[in-house]
Symmetry: C2
Subunit: 190 residues, 2 copies
């Protein structure tokens, strides 16, 4: 059963996206988005927001979901864009690091540190898990024969090391990327 089928899905999705856009702008600008402020800027009533997102936490969760989803999509695209496994990981880790460095919201989510007010209560755990899961999926696809334990270990290692290098960069991102790619390949035994 879908809830609320009256309004065209298009319009509802556009509204959600617009609200999240504004919320993201505010958060990045260092203000913590309030429901009245969002309603005012989007040009909609406060109640519409509550109807759409449930409550403030629901709105925050939606923003987190969208942000991390896009981040993971970018990483996966980089991964798929290269044929050689090592090159693929270099590209993916590079993308993950630069994207996170540029997007304050992603960085805040991953590092827990926030120049951004805490819109979120999540912590980095779930995101790292999601990243590891996608990485494992990719590895299984390109290396169907690999042992499952190795795939999982390699994927989790990659995710954790990437966050670690984001929090505490030991050098240029490119170097981090090649280092992590090397570790992944070695864990896989290649």
């Amino acid at each position: 059963m879908t809830e609320r089928r009256t309004m065209a899905r298009r319009a509802r999705d556009e509204l959600r996206d617009e609200v999240l856009d504004v919320a993201e702008d505010l958060a990045v600008a260092g203000e913590r988005p309030s429901m009245p402020e969002l309603a005012r800027r989007v040009g909609v009533s406060r109640q519409t927001l509550y109807s759409e997102f449930g409550d403030r936490d629901g709105l925050a969760a939606a923003l987190v979901l969208r942000t991390t989803g896009r981040w993971l999509d970018g990483i996966e695209a980089a991964l798929e864009g290269e044929a050689d496994l090592h090159a693929a990981w270099v590209a993916a880790v590079g993308a993950a690091l630069t994207e996170a460095a540029e997007n304050p919201l992603v960085k805040a989510l991953l590092t827990g540190y926030s120049a951004v007010p805490s819109v979120f209560g999540s912590g980095s755990g779930p995101i790292v898990d999601a990243a590891a899961a996608r990485a494992a999926g990719y590895l299984r696809r390109v290396r169907p024969g690999a042992a499952d334990a190795d795939v999982r270990l390699a994927a989790e290692t990659a995710a954790r090391l990437t966050v670690s290098h984001l929090v505490q960069p030991p050098g240029p991102a490119q170097r981090s990327a090649t280092d992590i790619a090397t570790v992944v390949l070695r864990v896989l035994g290649e």
Copy 2:
């Protein structure tokens, strides 16, 4: 030239240790140690503390140094206590994780999160570096033939993964230990 040669070194070292003990107790108890409070508890004048540690930051730095030194000593002892390389790493990572879990100060230093008031301004960076350096030294000692790049990569990977697992434990510490040990061995090509 040593500064201040009048007082027996013994007495001075004991004083420093006692002061740091008290400071650690206070910090762990959730209070942030103040110079007057420390002086009162140790039974010495405020000025003696300033003479000994320079200023409050100097005292904090001394505590950080002592705490991390002990932590690293514990890890190195675990490392040396096993003959098999894999077993050595399991023991070392296990020691690092349990010690950090039990010592709030170590945990605060490594995770940046603090139930403990920030006595320190350091951040986890220097400690991870120190841990990686010691790990690399150990590896060079037991595997003299290994390529230096591999040794450094393995050591840094071990240090980063250990902190990562401390911040976000995916399961029991024992499992983290074996996972990380496996990664280290694979990075070394064993």
